[in-house]
Symmetry: C3
Subunit: 329 residues, 3 copies
C-alpha cells in the first residue's frame, strides 16, 4: 500500500499501530526519545521517528508527508500540540480536525451535547445557586487533580481558595460509564466498540478507607487506567441512539460532522438515565481495554477488532474505494 499510518507513541498507539499492521499498512511511531524503546519492544512500528519533545512535533511534518503518512490523532497529540498547529498541519489527518474546537471549549461542547438531546449535569452560574452536591472543575486542568466536591455554598467558599476559572456542576450520583463508538463514513454506520470504567487516583481508593478515617482527605481524579465493562443489553438501543444523535448534531454544527472513534463519558443514575459530562471527539484510552478485540466488534466483524484496527480498516476501505478524501479532515 502506498500510504502509511502514523501516530504519536503514547495513549493508544499500541492498538493503533498494531491494528494498522493487521490491516496491511506500514506504520510510524513518533516518539519522544525516552518513550521510543516501548514501541521498539512491541514491534508495532516499522519506523520510529524521535523528537526531542512534543512541542517539536511540527519539525517532522515534512518527514510524514514524504512517507505519505496518515496521522491518527489521540489525546496525547491534542494535549501537547496546540490546536492551531493541528489545524494548520499539511500532513494527511484522519478525522474532522475542526471538531476539536467543539471538544476543547466547555461551552461549545455543551451546546453540541444539548443539541443532541442528551441529559447533561446542571451548571450553576453562581455559588449561591448551589442546592445539592456539586463538583467544581477548572478550565484546562490536566487529569482532574484540582477538582473538588462541595455540598453547599459555604463548603464551596471554604474550598475554592483563590481559584477563578471554574465551573460548578451538579454532581450526579450514579456510576461512571464510558461509551466507545465508531462512526464509519465508508459504511455509513455507527458501531459500538464497548464500555469501560476509568480507574482514578485517589477517588477510586477512598472507598477502601473506613469513613471514620477519611478526615482531611483531598480527593483527586487522576486517570491511571481502565477496567473493561459490559452493559446491560437492554440499554444498547439507548446507547446507539445517543451516539447517533451526537453524530447528527455534529453535522449541523461542524460539517461534515464527527466520524471515526469518539467517546461519551457518562454517569448512569439509578433510573438508568445517562448523564453525559463530556465527549471526546477521537479515540480515548479506555479503548485500550479492547487492545485485542472489542466484544461487540468481534460479533459485528466476525474477527478480532480493536478500535485501532477499526480505524485502519476504515482507511483501507476508503483507499480501495478511492474515497480517502472523505475521511481526511
Amino acid at each position: 500500500m502506498k500510504y502509511s499510518i502514523a501516530t504519536v507513541g503514547s495513549h493508544s498507539a499500541l492498538q493503533i499501530l498494531k491494528g494498522a499492521k493487521d490491516e496491511g499498512f506500514t506504520t510510524i511511531a513518533i516518539c519522544i526519545k525516552k518513550h521510543s524503546f516501548i514501541y521498539r519492544h512491541f514491534g508495532v512500528a516499522d519506523e520510529i521517528i524521535e523528537i526531542p519533545s512534543y512541542k517539536e512535533f511540527h519539525m517532522i511534518e515534512d518527514d510524514l508527508i514524504k512517507r505519505n503518512a496518515i496521522l491518527i490523532p489521540h489525546a496525547s497529540l491534542v494535549a501537547y500540540v496546540d490546536l492551531e498547529t493541528i489545524e494548520n498541519m499539511k500532513v494527511l489527518y484522519y478525522g474532522n480536525r475542526r471538531i476539536l474546537r467543539w471538544e476543547s471549549d466547555r461551552e461549545k461542547q455543551r451546546q453540541w451535547l444539548n443539541r443532541a438531546g442528551l441529559f447533561l449535569p446542571k451548571v450553576y452560574r453562581d455559588p449561591s445557586e448551589i442546592d445539592g452536591l456539586v463538583i467544581v472543575k477548572f478550565y484546562g486542568a490536566k487529569g482532574g487533580q484540582g477538582y473538588f466536591l462541595a455540598k453547599n455554598e459555604e463548603d464551596f467558599w471554604r474550598k475554592i481558595g483563590s481559584a477563578k476559572d471554574y465551573v460548578i456542576q451538579e454532581y450526579v450520583v450514579g456510576i461512571p460509564v464510558y461509551i466507545h463508538y465508531f462512526y464509519s463514513v465508508i459504511r455509513d454506520e455507527l458501531e459500538l466498540m464497548g464500555f469501560d470504567r476509568r480507574y482514578e487516583s485517589n477517588v477510586d481508593g477512598i472507598g477502601r478507607i473506613p469513613a471514620d478515617l477519611q478526615e482531611g482527605l483531598q480527593i483527586t481524579y487522576t486517570i491511571v487506567g481502565n477496567f473493561p465493562l459490559m452493559l446491560r443489553e437492554s440499554l444498547l438501543p439507548e446507547v446507539f441512539r445517543m451516539g447517533q444523535r451526537v453524530v447528527e448534531a455534529s453535522r449541523e454544527i461542524c460539517s461534515p460532522g464527527i466520524f471515526g472513534p469518539f467517546c461519551l463519558e457518562t454517569v448512569v443514575t439509578p433510573d438508568l438515565k445517562f448523564y453525559v459530562f463530556e465527549i471526546s471527539a477521537r479515540i480515548v484510552a479506555g479503548t485500550n481495554v479492547f487492545i485485542d478485540s472489542s466484544p461487540y466488534a468481534l460479533i459485528r466483524h466476525g474477527k478480532p477488532m480493536s478500535t485501532g484496527r477499526r480505524i485502519a480498516l476504515e482507511i483501507r476501505e476508503a483507499i480501495e474505494q478511492e474515497r480517502l478524501e472523505e475521511i481526511l479532515g
Copy 2:
C-alpha cells in the same frame, strides 16, 4: 439442521444467537420494535420477529412452532412474560421450566439453597430481632431500587415508610461475587463458566464520595453492567461443590432438576465463606463478560465458548444423540 434457536432480543441475546450460529443453527430474535435494529446491526439473527410489546409474546408462539424453534429463556423473558404463560407454552423450551417457580418464590428458593447446604444470610422474622446491619428487600422489586440498609430497629422504622411486603435480611459484610455454572445433561457434567461482579447504580458510586459528603444519600441497587472477575484458584473446588449440591438438591425438589446455565449470587466474607443471597435458574447477564469466551470454558473445550454458545453446543449434541427431549422441559 432442522431446528432453529430463538430468544428474546435483550439481556444475553447477542451471545445466545451468536453462539447458536457458531454451532450451525439458524437463529430467530423476537424483538419489540424499537430494539430490533440492534440485532439487525450485529447480524446475529437470521430472522427477526417483531412484537408490539413483551405482553404479546404468546402471539408469535405458532410462528416459533412452525419454524421448529427451540426457545432459550433468560431474565427478560421471565420478567416480562408471566410464569403461567411460560409454563403453558407449546414451543420447544430449553431448560426445566418448572424450576422457575422455585426461583421466583423467595421462600422456596431458600428451601432449595438450604437443602443444598449453602450458607445463607440470616432472615429476621420481626424488626425487633435486628441485631446488626440488615438489608431490607421488597417482593417483586425490579432491579433493587427500593432496597435499603438499616443498622438497628429504630433505623428500620425510620426508613420503612408505609411499605408492607418486605424481607429483612442480614447484610453480610464482604464482597459480591457472581458464579456462572453450566450443567450439561448430555455430558452429565457440571462446568464452570466464570465469575463477574455486578456494577450497580448508585451503590457502586457512593464509595467515590467522601464520607462527610454522603449525608442524605439514598442507596440503590439498579444493575447497569458487569465486570469480568477471576477467583482465587484455590476456591474452585468449593465453587464446584456448591454448584454440584445445587444441582442435586434441585433433583429432589423439582425433578429432573436444574440443567443448563445457572448462577449463584454470593457475598464472600473475609474467612472465604460464600454466602448465597440468590440463585438464578437460567443464563444471567453477567455471562455477557464472556461474550467471546469464558476463560474456564476455553480450557475445558479447547476453543472460544460463551455461555450462549455452550447452550447451543448442548442442543446440537442432544440432537446428534437423539436425546433432545432430555433437555426440553
Copy 3:
C-alpha cells in the same frame, strides 16, 4: 520432549499446565486429594499425583525426578512448603530459588526495592512517630486478615491489642495496581504481561456501605480474586524502567538475580508515582486474568500468551538452545 512440567494444583496451575501443553510438554499436577478433581475436569494434566497434604510434598520428589519434571513454583508451594525444603529439593526447579529469602523477609525485601530506587511507603520504627494514616501489618499473616488502619498514635494503641510482631507502614492514599513482568533469560529481555487489581474481602465491599452505617466495621484484606486492568500507555516507560531496575538490583544481591515472572504490588498516587509495597518473586494469581492471553504479550508474541505459557515457552527455548541450566536455580 524428554522433560515434563509439574506444578502444585492450586493458585495459577490452570494457566501453567495449559500453557505447558500449548508448548508441547507433558504435564503433572501435584494435588491434595480433595482438589484433584478440578485438574482432572479441565484436562490440563497428563498425570495427577495426589498427596495427603502439602506437608507431604517431599514424598513425591523422587517421582518428579524420575519423570524428568521441571517444577514451576507459585505462592501455594511457597506458602505450604517451608523455604529450607524448597532450597534443598533435588527436583529441577524453574527460577532462582534463593531469591525467595529476599522475598519472604520484609527487611531484605525493603533493601532490594530500595536498591532498585523505587518509592516505598515510609516505615515507622515507633508508634509515637505516626504522623498520618498508617496501616499496621503482622509478620506471617496469611491474606491480610489481621491488618488494620490507624490515624494516630492513640488510635494505634486502641487497636493493637496484645500483638507484638508488627510493622507500621505509611498508608499511601491512591489506588492499588499490580504489575506483572516476565524476565526472559533466553531472550535477555524484560516483558510486560499486564496489570490487575486485587479484589479483597471485606475492604472492597465497605465502599458500598454508606458512611453513617460503617460504625464498628473491621476491615480486612483477604484476597478473593482479581480484575483485569489496563494502564495509561504513557506510564509504560516508567513501568518498564521499574521492572528493569528490580532485575538489576536482584543481580547484585542474589546472583544471577530474578528471572521468569514477578510482580510489583503498588499504590499509584494522584501525581502518578508508583509506591511499591511488596514484590512477589514468582508468578502471582493476578496473572489469572490473562488465563488465555495477556494483551501486551499478544502484541509482543503475535499469538495468545498467558504468563503460564510464557514460562513454558522460555523452558522450551532453553532446551532447544541447550541452555536449560541457566533457568534452573
